[in-house]
Symmetry: C2
Subunit: 239 residues, 2 copies
C-alpha cells in the first residue's frame, strides 16, 4: 500500500459517493471527507459515511467531518431550511431545484483542497453528475474546470491537486452498474433527503436513486417506507 | 438608504478590513462576514469586528460569523496549530509564511458567495493585498479573477456577484491614508496574531501594521506591549 498517491474523496454517504470511493480506492490511498451543513438527514448520512469508510478500511486519521453549519445559517434551501418544503416528484421540471444549497460544492471543495494540501494528496474525487441528477449549477463540468484553475493559482507553488469528477457524464443507472462491477457496498448507503429510518421513496433524491436501480435492472438493497416504492426499487426494467 | 445595492464585506477586525468597510459603505448597504477558524486571537478579532460593525450601524441581520473550524482541524499553519510557532520579524524572507492557512481565502469567499446569493448582494469586498503584505498565494489578483469565474459558473444563472479587491495594489501605508481620509475607526481594530490585551509588536502582522502607520506618518491608536513598539508606531517617518 505504501507509495500510492493519496486522494481526498467527498463522500456524503449516498450511492454516488460510495461508487466514488470504490473508484478512488483502485489507485489511491483514500481519505474521506464528509460535511455536516444542517441538512435534514445529517445523522443518517454520517452513519452511512462511517459504514462505507469502515468497509474500505479507511483509518481514522484519513476521515474528516467538516462542519459547514454556516450554510444552514445562510439558508435559502429546502435541504437546510425547515420553512422550505423538500420537493417531491418534480424531476422533470425546469430550473434550479429548491434543494439547491447556494454554492455548497464550492464550500465543500474549498475544505477538501485545504485538507488535500496539508495531506499532500494529489486528487480530489468529486461526485458531481451533469446529466440526469439535477439542475444544480455547481455540478457541471465548467464548474470543475473553474475550481481547478482556482486551486492552481490559490495554493502553494509546489502543490499539485486536481479535482476529478469521474461520474460527471454517467447516468444514475450507469453509476449503479459501475458500483456493481466494483462490489461497492450499496447496502450501506443513504440517499433520502427526508427520512432516517426507511427511505421516503418520494423526494427527488429517492426518485433518482430508485430510477437508477430500476433502469440498471439491479435490486436496491435499502429499505423504503412505502410498499410501492419498495416494489419499484426491487429491480426489473419497467418504466 | 433604501434601493442601494448590498455588498458583503469580509472583515477580520483588522485595519485592512476596517478600511474595506469604509469603502463599501460609500455606495452599498454593508453586510459584514467574519470567520472563526481556530486562529489564536479569535476572541479579540471578533470583538474588533463587532465594534467596527457597531460604528457603521450594521444591523444584526447583516452580520454573520461563520465557523470554519475545519481549517484548525486540518492544521498546517502557525495561525491555527499551537505546535507551529508564529513567525517574528521575518518580513523580508522568501516563500510562503508559516502563518499561511491552506486555501483559507477560498473557504472564506465560498461562504461569502453563498451568503451573497441568498441576500441578493452584488459585490463581495475582499481585503487581499498583493504587494507588501505577504507571499500568500490566495491574495493575488489571479486568485480573485479565478474566483469570479467560479462564481459565474457555480451560482444560479440570474445571480450576478463580483468579488472586488480595492486594496489589492495598495501598500499598507496607502491603506492607512485611505482610512484616515474616510474617518475609518482604526482605534477599534486588531491585527496582532499573538496577543489579545496589548499587541505584541513582534509578529508579522504587527510589524506590517506598525510599518504602515509609520510610513504614512500617522499615529497608531492601539496599545502595544513593548515601549519600543509603542514608540515605533507613534508616527513620524523614521525608517
Amino acid at each position: 500500500m505504501a507509495g500510492r498517491a493519496t486522494a481526498v474523496v467527498l463522500a456524503s454517504g449516498g450511492m454516488d459517493s460510495c461508487v466514488l470511493v470504490a473508484l478512488a480506492a483502485q489507485e489511491h490511498e483514500v481519505a474521506m471527507l464528509h460535511a455536516n451543513y444542517g441538512q435534514r438527514t445529517m445523522g443518517r448520512e454520517k452513519r452511512a459515511f462511517d459504514a462505507i469508510a469502515d468497509f474500505y478500511r479507511v483509518p481514522p486519521r484519513r476521515r474528516l467531518t467538516v462542519n459547514l453549519s454556516h450554510l444552514a445559517a445562510i439558508g435559502g434551501s429546502a435541504l437546510t431550511d425547515p420553512a422550505i418544503p423538500v420537493p417531491e416528484g418534480n424531476l422533470g421540471r425546469e430550473g434550479i431545484p429548491a434543494s439547491y444549497v447556494p454554492f455548497r460544492n464550492a464550500n465543500l471543495l474549498a475544505a477538501a483542497t485545504a485538507w488535500a494540501e496539508v495531506l499532500g494528496a494529489t486528487r480530489i474525487f468529486f461526485g458531481a453528475m451533469e446529466g440526469d441528477s439535477s439542475g444544480y449549477p455547481d455540478c457541471r463540468g465548467s464548474f470543475v474546470e473553474a475550481f481547478n484553475r482556482l486551486i492552481e493559482v490559490g495554493t502553494r507553488p509546489e502543490t499539485r491537486i486536481e479535482v476529478v469528477a469521474p461520474l460527471l457524464h454517467l447516468t444514475k443507472a450507469q453509476v449503479v452498474q459501475r458500483g456493481v462491477a466494483l462490489d461497492a457496498p450499496f447496502h450501506l448507503t443513504w440517499s433520502c433527503y427526508q427520512a432516517e429510518e426507511a427511505a421516503c421513496g418520494r423526494c427527488d433524491s429517492c426518485l433518482l436513486r430508485m430510477r437508477g436501480f430500476r433502469e440498471a435492472g439491479v435490486p436496491d438493497p435499502i429499505p423504503y417506507a412505502s410498499a410501492e416504492a419498495s416494489r419499484q426499487s426491487a429491480g426489473g426494467s419497467q418504466q
